[in-house]
């Protein structure tokens, strides 16, 4: 199947990695989306769902699905090629005129009418998912979160979409139907008029709060006609029952007056001119390269011994010295891969099976194969153009967004895959045991999307002294140390970055980055102490009634609390109390020697029991335990030291959101 396509350059897709290609049998241009199935977490069912929705769509207003097949571990989805780009791209030179918007809205409504009529909800309508063909035809794209209803009247409960565009009933989760797409359409129309959706400057988490509470947004300004304003108002009615259907809106005066799609070519032209003028930045085309997957990565002379087996039936282990049979994968070049490569070396040294006797060529191959896999985590990050033309980032955006924790929502709306998808089981998002400075340098780019990269000095430090501290210290051995590392990479670091991004004043920023530096030093040197410090802080906060309430943590007198994340609360009293603030500076004198015994109420212990029983015990108890265990784990994010003024609602919201994700989780994995 794959031979039928001549793959050309990478497209600037808002979803996953998309290549332009020529279908050899017809000579037609197509777009091919590559999904790395190895990287796509636990279930292929979601991807299959997308395909099945796609393949049952045939409408001039919906991007046409052509075929899909698996090649190696990659799924190729062949779609019609749309040369005009997405509306989000076309918005870059400036917002659209009312006449253009009317045409796009009409075409979108025609597409939505088709989808709704055939029992589908798109659930992620936005400018980024509205594609234009070269001649101005408008098509709905990206069915990553679309749902097919078995019964046309039934409602969905799942929580998906992109915050800014989400309808109130989707956020509130009391069931929603086709009307949710109409709301998103209204927001999209405003996005095209104003260049950004309403509340774009607000934090996405806050937006989730805002949409159900605040009155529906309205289009303001004298430059817009009454019809347009009324159209928006009909889309943005908070009560879905009173909101118009696609069919009704097609009869709206604003839509009736809309012109022909050819007019939209003006937008495409405008974008082309804009690109030429911007061309100093020089768009670097990235071409498709075949990733060689047929490398045997484990250089492991230890084949299992099944003595009863006849030698002929055993798959002969590949001789570790023959390298000629392996195809050499291309080695990514360019600055930002240095750290990865270094890390790789580290990994190999750590792996007992990463035999040192293997020939250099073999090691190189191995390095690359893992490096390219890791780099898929960075897909969400927009690579500054011009760098690493050879490193192929092949992955799928669901991965990137899936790995994002609720608080780590992307601040940029639009082109980056900020679509919220259901929570998935935490899997190997860190490919290495030490989420030290390196993982941070990744996320720095991520938050800095479009802004100045933050933690500049930290970043420099990373490059200059890569891995030295990590190398010097043995990997964290104790559970506490691991937890400390985890707390840093999952909570402290993201929290600091987020706060940083929200801080305006330069002096405040500097102060904050000092804290960040100090903390990362502590993390490098003494993760165990880091963990104890956190625990202590949390303990103290939950002991202070006023602080606890303010931060949304349950107040407690020394007694273990359901929400308390740290294990072994009781044991804590045995640790000599000390002032947490002084430890902040990263002093390595924290009581690393103190070993903690797991207490009975330790959530980890609980979940451990649960897992052991789960094969035989079914039903609600099990689930509750699971929920409790997850809950406890999640609450770590609310560590008091990092809840910033003005973000108090986040804890509460996170709870609400988490509950929803858990619901989704339960329905998808009823029992392990």
């Amino acid at each position: 199947m794959a031979d039928n396509y001549q793959v050309l350059e990478e497209l600037d897709g808002s979803f996953g990695v998309v290549y332009k290609a020529i279908e050899k049998s017809t000579g037609e241009l197509v777009a091919i989306k590559h999904i790395d199935l190895e990287g796509s977490g636990d279930d292929l069912a979601e991807i299959q769902q997308e395909i099945s929705v796609l393949s049952t769509c045939k409408s001039p207003y919906v991007t046409q699905y052509k075929a899909s097949f698996v090649k190696g571990v990659k799924l190729w989805i062949v779609m019609e090629y749309l040369g005009g780009g997405s509306c989000l791209d076309l918005l870059k030179p400036g917002s659209f005129s009312e006449a253009h918007i009317a045409i796009i809205c009409r075409e979108l409504l025609l597409g939505l009418d088709y989808l709704h009529h055939t029992g589908k909800i798109h659930r992620d309508i936005k400018a980024a998912n509205t594609l234009l063909s070269q001649d101005g035809r408008v098509k709905i794209a990206d069915f990553g979160v679309a749902a097919q209803l078995t019964n046309i009247k039934s409602q969905r409960m799942t929580f998906v979409g992109t915050p800014f565009w989400m309808a109130p009933e989707v956020i509130q989760e009391n069931g929603y139907d086709f009307k949710a797409d109409i709301w998103s359409l209204g927001i999209t129309a405003m996005e095209m008029a104003n260049g950004a959706p309403p509340n774009a400057e607000t934090h996405p988490m806050k937006v989730l709060f805002l949409i159900p509470k605040a009155p529906a947004p309205r289009l303001e300004g004298s430059k817009w006609s009454k019809d347009f304003k009324d159209f928006i108002a009909s889309c943005l009615i908070k009560d879905p029952d009173r909101r118009a259907t696609a069919k009704e809106l097609l009869r709206h005066r604003f839509i009736q007056r809309a012109g022909r799609t050819e007019t939209l070519r003006e937008l495409i032209l405008r974008k082309e001119q804009f690109d030429t003028s911007e061309d100093e930045h020089e768009t670097h085309r990235r071409y498709y390269e075949e990733t060689m997957q047929n490398i045997s990565p484990r250089e492991d002379q230890d084949e299992w011994v099944f003595d009863t087996l006849k030698p002929s039936t055993v798959k002969m282990p590949v001789n570790k010295h023959t390298t000629k049979r392996r195809k050499l994968a291309r080695i990514p070049s360019g600055g930002n891969d240095i750290s990865e490569a270094l890390l790789e070396r580290l990994n190999i040294n750590e792996t007992p099976l990463g035999t040192l006797s293997a020939s250099p060529a073999v090691r190189k191959v191995r390095k690359v194969s893992t490096a390219s896999r890791r780099s898929s985590f960075a897909t969400a990050i927009r690579q500054p153009s011009g760098s690493t033309p050879t490193a192929r980032r092949v992955s799928d955006n669901r991965r990137a967004s899936g790995q994002k924790q609720p608080l780590g929502l992307d601040m940029s709306f639009g082109n980056s895959p900020s679509t919220v998808r259901q929570f998935r089981r935490v899997s190997g998002e860190k490919e290495h045991g030490q989420p030290g400075p390196l993982s941070r340098s990744n996320s720095v780019i991520h938050v800095g999307d479009g802004n100045t990269p933050i933690h500049e000095d930290a970043g420099v430090q990373d490059e200059n002294a890569p891995l030295m501290p990590v190398d010097a210290h043995p990997p964290p051995a104790t559970k506490e140390a691991l937890l400390g590392r985890r707390a840093f990479s999952k909570i402290i670091d993201p929290a600091l970055q987020e706060t940083y991004a929200q801080t305006g004043s330069q002096t405040k920023r500097e102060a904050l980055s000092k804290v960040a530096n100090a903390w990362s030093a502590l993390d490098r040197v003494d993760p165990e102490g880091e963990y104890l410090l956190l625990k202590m802080m949390l303990e103290r906060v939950s002991g202070d009634a006023r602080l606890a309430t303010a931060l949304g943590i349950q107040f407690t007198h020394q007694s273990p609390v359901k929400n308390t994340p740290a294990p072994a609360v009781r044991e804590v009293s045995s640790i000599p109390p000390s002032t947490p603030s002084r430890r902040d500076s990263g002093a390595p004198d924290t009581p690393t020697k103190t070993k903690l015994v797991l207490a009975q109420n330790n959530p980890h212990l609980k979940s451990h029991h649960r897992r052991r029983q789960s094969a035989f015990v079914g039903g609600a108890v099990d689930r509750d335990l699971a929920a409790a265990a997850h809950y406890a784990g999640f609450d770590e994010k609310k560590l008091p030291g990092h809840v910033q003024p003005g973000m108090e609602h986040a804890g509460l919201l996170a709870d609400v959101l988490y509950g929803r994700w858990m619901e989704g989780l339960k329905s998808r994995w009823p029992l392990s």
């Binding site: 199935l37 190895e38 292929l44 069912a45 299959q48 395909i51 099945s52 393949s55 049952t56 045939k58 075929a67 899909s68 097949f69 698996v70 190696g72 571990v73 799924l75 709704h116 009529h117 055939t118 078995t150 046309i152 009247k153 086709f178 259907t245 069919k247 490398i295 045997s296 484990r298 492991d300 084949e303 299992w304 011994v305 099944f306 003595d307 009863t308 087996l309 798959k315 990994n347 750590e350 792996t351 007992p352 099976l353 990463g354 089981r425 935490v426 899997s427 190997g428 998002e429 860190k430 290495h432 045991g433 691991l482 985890r486 980890h604 979940s607 897992r611 052991r612 094969a615 784990g633």
Partner: protein, 377 residues
């Protein structure tokens, strides 16, 4: 005559609707070249039925209307025609057909909500071949997904699952006698069920994915029935399963089927199947090779089968103990580094350490400590 007053073209009665659909369907299929007029008429007819059964966003359905239409469809025996010819229908009509058939298999008359849907009863008593015809929809890309959708709706009923599992080739055209199936006798292996393996392994991505969904549904939904079936057909089923699916060339097939294998073996109702499965050394070898596959998710899925069924299982056969003990040192060297990047997956990390502990605790030589499990071949 009422002819003009009621504008019969728009408002056909249910029996008329069913009759005319059957007529136009026969005409459409008999035509060599697609006649746009017939096609148009056919699509209209199907869309109309769909509306009666499902309503639209604006139009509510009436249960009486639904009941009437479904009875008429059964009366005219249209469902079998639809199932057999779905691949020839135009694009949207295939989806309409799926809706019509699914609604039929779901519909219960409003006054008797506890009974099986009337269409299911009818299939069981009169037309089990509708179900097999739906299965054979997987032979073609065009019909795979609509047939699969209908099939999964019907498979909610145990008796439908039995039709698929116990189907046998019938050259003389005699339908399966459901009342007299011996559920504990092995099947010939030539019935429609056994085609699923190839549909999954060899089909195009969409076909394979859909066939797998149905296959999983079939093997996990009606536990009692499946346990008896697997017990009776243990050797042939797992031989085929391991060979075609677990060791498939296709990444997707392989990964999904390992996962499903774990699900099947870990189901409490399949306890006997599980003990029988893990007694066989050959099975352990297959799973252990999965741990060394060069694709991480294959390792991961393989791990779940390995841990629960081979290591944590207290009653290990001599054969299995021998393999585990013979590889103890290798396993203890291999496992600590196994899927090391899953540091954040607490459950996995815990299970891995548990597993390592279990392997350390293995006796120095195989022995019959436990009561050997009764092996009733």
């Amino acid at each position: 005559m009422a002819f003009n007053i009621f504008n019969r073209n728009r408002q056909k009665s249910n029996p008329e609707l069913a009759k005319s659909l059957k007529e136009v369907l026969q005409r459409y299929i008999s035509e060599e070249k697609a006649n746009p007029k017939t096609e148009e008429e056919l699509s209209r007819s199907l869309t109309q039925m769909k509306t009666v059964l499902q309503g639209t966003t604006e139009l509510e359905v009436s249960p009486d209307q639904q009941h009437g239409l479904i009875s008429a469809l059964l009366q005219e025996d249209v469902l079998l025609y639809l199932a057999k010819s779905i691949h020839r229908l135009p694009f949207e009509s295939r989806k309409d057909t799926q809706v019509i058939m699914s609604s039929a298999f779901r519909f219960k008359p409003p006054n008797s909500p506890d009974l099986d849907p009337i269409a299911i009863n009818w299939v069981v008593k009169r037309r089990p071949e509708i179900i097999t015809a739906l299965c054979y929809g997987y032979d073609r890309k065009e019909s795979a997904m609509p047939c699969g959708g209908v099939l999964r709706e019907a498979l909610k009923h145990e008796v439908v699952a039995a039709i698929v599992l116990y189907d046998e080739p019938n050259p003389d055209g005699k339908p399966l006698d459901l009342a007299n199936i011996n559920l504990d006798a092995p099947v010939s292996g030539n019935g429609v069920f056994w085609n699923f393996f190839d549909w999954i392994d060899k089909g195009a991505f969409e076909v394979s994915a859909d066939a797998f969904n149905t296959f999983r549904e079939l093997l996990t939904k009606h536990k009692g029935l499946v346990a008896r079936y697997l017990q009776a057909n243990f050797d042939s089923f797992f031989a085929k399963y391991n060979k075609t699916l677990v060791q498939s060339e296709s990444y997707v097939t392989k990964r999904q089927s390992i996962k499903l294998l774990g699900e099947i073996l870990l189901d409490r109702s399949n306890y006997n199947i599980m003990t029988k499965y893990v007694d066989i050394g050959e099975h352990l070898k297959i799973i252990m090779r999965l741990l060394k596959d060069d694709r991480k998710m294959i390792n991961y899925e393989g791990f779940h089968v390995f841990k629960k069924v081979f290591v944590a299982n207290p009653n290990k056969s001599m054969e299995v103990q021998k393999i585990l003990i013979g590889n103890r040192d290798k396993l203890l060297k291999f496992l600590p580094a196994f899927l090391q990047d899953r540091q954040d997956d607490d459950q996995f990390m815990d299970e891995k350490s548990f597993l390592i502990r279990q392997i350390e605790l293995l006796p120095p030589a195989p022995m019959l400590t436990q009561q050997p499990v009764a092996r009733n071949y």
